[in-house]
């Protein structure tokens, strides 16, 4: 059973590098190692604590969890000394700099979060300007930033998706979505995909379906359906078979009526797994017939990352009832959002739902700047162009290296699965590390 650790633990999500076709002519046969593309920027000199000092503080009884998380993420049992950790001190667009000023190509973007680029001038400008004016008052007073941002975000949504709730993280967004689903439907059962990741709080841990992330605590009525994973899934790319499993769960595991279904269109933490084509259309239909709402978790796939569409769910030709987002929404600002229909929002109005930091002027201003950058710099198209070039090059690489079992994804959300045996698909855990 594939767990998150068995897959390439980092989906290769390249930052926006310029197209250099002639580089494909160089390859492993060349003696010279590839060089970073030039970048006309010098990092600021760094005078802060060095890696050793920082690591010392992290380990010294404090933040013991950070060490363990880092280790588990890298799929290396806690070692002493731990694997060399990188002290990242500055970022600029698609590059990061360490304490010695060395530049790195950031192909992970702070886990699919830095969408515009590290310290993008427009986003930075918006944050700095607003921080000097007003950081926080809460929504008990009016402020234009939250309203402007909500309007712009809603305009990116299809159908009747136009009521926006601002929160501070993907976890909070998915918590709220689950609450909405249960309230609106009056039902309890939630359906989620195996191999999904939806958050780290007690309830979202229930939706999350990867044992690494699931603590042994009660998680309420949640049913994990077979993952429509084209590479490892039992039905290959046959969406109909996978959708049958959803119906099966509903018919036998629930009262027949459900609260809702949630899915990432491309599973992020789970290893850039694209759902089998046609899957969501079938499942949305089944879920709605059972009284449930459909939630699209766009925390990683949203904001043009997939290249072909603005939202991941659009690649499957569906319109959800609730959309959750975070990560790329603010280029790294602690921000999340839930967008839903007025009908569902009205049910929420029966009690007070309040988020102290949610929708604060600075994060809203930052979020609005992000939307504008994505539009102005045509990032979605860029993701499509560079992404397809990248995927093609990776497919070429796959021809040359047996280690590469699968190349998948779209736009700039790409995954490369390493296996020691292509037929058995034995995960190449050590090789990946």
């Amino acid at each position: 059973m594939a767990t998150q650790r068995n897959l390439l633990s980092r989906s290769l999500q390249a930052a926006k590098s310029r197209c250099r076709y002639h580089q494909s002519l160089r390859g492993i046969s060349s003696a010279a190692a590839p060089e970073l593309p030039p970048f006309g920027y010098e990092p600021k000199p760094y005078h802060g604590p060095l890696a050793d000092q920082v690591l010392e503080k992290r380990k010294k009884d404090k933040e013991v969890h950070l060490h363990s998380v880092g280790a588990s993420f890298l799929d290396i049992p806690s070692q002493d000394p731990p694997p060399a950790a990188l002290n990242i001190v500055e970022g600029k667009m698609q590059y990061l700099f360490d304490e010695s000023g060395k530049r790195y190509l950031d192909a992970f973007a702070g886990i699919v979060t830095v969408s515009c680029g590290h310290c993008h001038p427009d986003v930075l400008g918006a944050i700095v300007e607003q921080s000097k004016l007003l950081q926080h008052t809460t929504t008990i007073y009016l402020h234009h930033a939250i309203a402007d941002f909500a309007e712009e975000l809603a305009s990116k949504m299809p159908g009747n998706l136009k009521v926006v709730y601002f929160v501070n993280s993907g976890t909070e967004a998915n918590e709220l979505a689950m609450l909405m689903a249960r309230l609106y439907s009056g039902n309890l059962s939630m359906l989620a995909l195996r191999n999904a990741y939806h958050g780290g709080s007690a309830s979202t841990i229930g939706l999350t379906a990867l044992n690494t992330w699931k603590y042994p605590i009660p998680q309420g009525e949640i049913h994990h359906v077979v993952n429509p994973n084209p590479y490892r899934g039992v039905f290959g790319s046959d969406a109909n078979q996978y959708a049958e499993d959803v119906k099966d769960h509903i018919d036998h595991g629930t009262s027949g009526q459900v609260a809702g279904f949630i899915a990432e269109t491309i599973q992020g933490v789970g290893g850039a797994v694209e759902l089998a084509p046609g899957y969501l259309k079938l499942v949305y239909d089944i879920v709605r017939k059972a009284g449930g709402v459909c939630i699209a978790d766009e925390v990683q796939t949203g904001f043009g990352r997939t290249g072909s569409h603005y939202w991941g769910f659009e690649t499957q030709g569906v319109t959800p009832d609730i959309v959750t987002m975070a990560k790329g929404i603010g280029n790294g600002l602690p921000l999340g959002a839930v967008v839903t229909t007025p009908a569902i929002a009205n049910v929420m109005a029966q009690k007070i739902q309040f988020n102290t930091f949610g929708g604060n002027p600075v994060c809203s201003a930052g979020g609005l700047a992000v939307l504008k950058v994505l539009d102005k710099e045509q990032r979605q198209k860029h993701c499509a162009d560079v992404g397809s070039h990248l995927i093609q090059r990776l497919r070429d690489l796959q021809q040359r290296h047996d280690l590469i079992g699968d190349v998948r994804g779209r736009g700039l959300m790409v995954g490369i699965e390493l296996v020691t045996d292509r037929k058995e698909k034995t995960p190449a855990k050590a090789e990946t590390a």
């Binding site: 933040e63 000097k132 709730y165 603590y215 009660p218 988020n355």
Partner: protein
């Protein structure tokens, strides 16, 4: 008339009263001369505002934001700029901020040191996650841990109080292997599934499954059934454990002073007794310092310290970052270890910008002696409010500590009937006069005063005078 401040004045118990010369207000009606309190001077002019007006914003809010989102005041206020303890509306009018964005802005709006830390770090690196090293998170964790007693030194960063409390509850359940958690009626701990269970006011609780939480009788000195007898209330904890659980519990969570619940101080002697019962049942004690922490109560840095207890887990948010989205959980290494059984990861938690801001906040609190200011000015303010209570029948109770104060309005002092409509009227009047105050309590009849901790005596005088004036009308 002589004016002197009393320390921690307790209303109506024979403490020497004083009358400020402005008590001439009481004689105004006879003298036909209306004295209107003036906001203390402040040498600062806000930049001109050219953005959308209140009407435009309201229209967009109605269309694109949650229908359960509410605003204060008959005519909602468009607040566009803040500086220290003052806020400015779209017309450049200055207001005294007596609510602090709900006990959140502790150093002061746009405090230069905090803004500088934010701007500097934002220009450098906003986000990379803890998969890489960065000094900001460790520096802040170090400084924060140093503020806590005992073995409380492992820090987890989150993005809100809700996330912090969710994590605390999960840790307690994992550590003990038990599910039952006890919280207090009238508490507020958050809005996610687990924390909604711990929250204990029907206004905030949706009709969804919230398992494993038992709500103990609130040790509320003003409205509670046992008055101020802390130990008597604590017996309910014992009772709940014996009859409502297996006899073993995961933990107990409480605020040292209930914030959303209307600035309710827990009856003296309650927490030590409650903690004792909970520990006997194998449970962990969680102190929710989201509102009371960071020197706000004046007498201590943390609310729990004034009760003479040491919790096993402390949660914080709001004031921790002066308004930046940030929360934290601090616990012992032994308890923290439970999370190593699986992976807990918070993408934004501990990001360089928020942690840089958090560290700046701690430094400001220390350098500008904000805790002491909260104590001195807070006590002064409380004394003046107590004096006001003598004057206005509508004030049922004045309570709280430092700059976390509550004024409960009632239409009948004996029956304690909540003055739900009257408070709205007074609040609106106060806004018109330049004071933005908070509101809370289960009945919505308690003024919550939780200003930025740089609040001065002049500000306190203005607040009370405006309240007096508004109540007199």
């Amino acid at each position: 008339m002589q004016r002197f401040a009393t320390r921690r004045g307790i209303c109506g118990t024979g403490v020497q009263r004083w009358r400020r010369c402005l008590s001439q207000l009481a004689q105004n009606t006879e003298e036909n001369e209306v004295y209107v309190p003036k906001i203390p001077s402040f040498d600062y002019s806000p930049p001109a505002y050219k953005g959308p007006t209140a009407e435009e914003i309201l229209r967009k809010r109605k269309e694109f934001l949650s229908p359960s989102m509410f605003t204060f005041y008959k005519k909602p206020l468009n607040v566009v700029h803040g500086k220290m303890q003052y806020l400015f509306d779209e017309n450049g009018r200055r207001y005294l901020d007596a609510f602090g964005g709900i006990a959140t802005v502790c150093c002061g709006h746009c405090h230069p040191d905090v803004v500088k830390a934010i701007v500097d770090q934002t220009n450098q690196l906003q986000h990379s996650t803890i998969l890489y090293l960065h000094h900001a998170i460790t520096d802040f964790a170090d400084a924060l841990a140093s503020k806590l007693p005992g073995d409380l030194k492992v820090v987890f960063f989150t993005n809100s109080g809700t996330e912090a409390n969710e994590l605390a509850m999960m840790m307690a359940r994992l550590y003990t292997g038990c599910h039952d958690i006890i919280s207090l009626r009238n508490a507020y701990h958050g809005n996610a599934a687990g924390t909604m269970g711990a929250t204990a006011q029907s206004n905030w609780k949706f009709n969804v499954v919230q398992s494993g939480v038992h709500h103990a009788v609130n040790p509320d000195p003003y409205r509670g059934i046992f008055g101020s007898d802390g130990e008597q209330y604590a017996k309910d904890i014992e009772d709940l454990i014996q009859f409502g659980t297996s006899g073993h519990v995961a933990g107990f969570i409480s605020e040292a002073i209930q914030g959303v619940g209307g600035i309710v101080e827990l009856a003296p002697g309650y927490l030590p007794a409650a903690y004792s019962s909970v520990k006997k049942a194998g449970g962990l004690c969680i102190s929710d310092e989201v509102q009371a922490g960071f020197g706000r109560t004046g007498s201590h840095f943390w609310g729990f310290e004034s009760h003479g207890v040491v919790p096993d887990i402390v949660t914080m948010a709001k004031g921790i970052g002066n308004g930046i989205p940030l929360g934290a959980v601090v616990t012992t290494p032994k308890i923290a270890e439970v999370l190593t059984r699986r992976s807990y990861f918070n993408t934004f938690g501990g990001n360089p910008v928020c942690t840089a801001a958090g560290l700046a906040v701690l430094k400001v609190i220390e350098r500008e002696k904000l805790q002491e200011n909260a104590h001195v000015v807070g006590s002064y303010l409380k004394d003046r409010l107590c004096a006001l209570k003598d004057k206005h029948e509508i004030i049922g109770d004045v309570r709280g500590s430092g700059m976390m104060l509550g004024v409960e309005l009632v239409t009948d002092r004996h029956l304690k009937t909540p003055a739900k409509t009257e408070i709205l009227h007074v609040m609106d009047q106060m806004k018109d006069m330049g004071v933005l105050i908070g509101k809370g309590g289960f009945f919505g009849n308690v003024f919550r005063i939780t200003p930025p901790l740089c609040f001065t005596k002049d500000d306190a005088d203005f607040l009370v005078d405006v309240m007096d004036y508004s109540m007199s009308k």
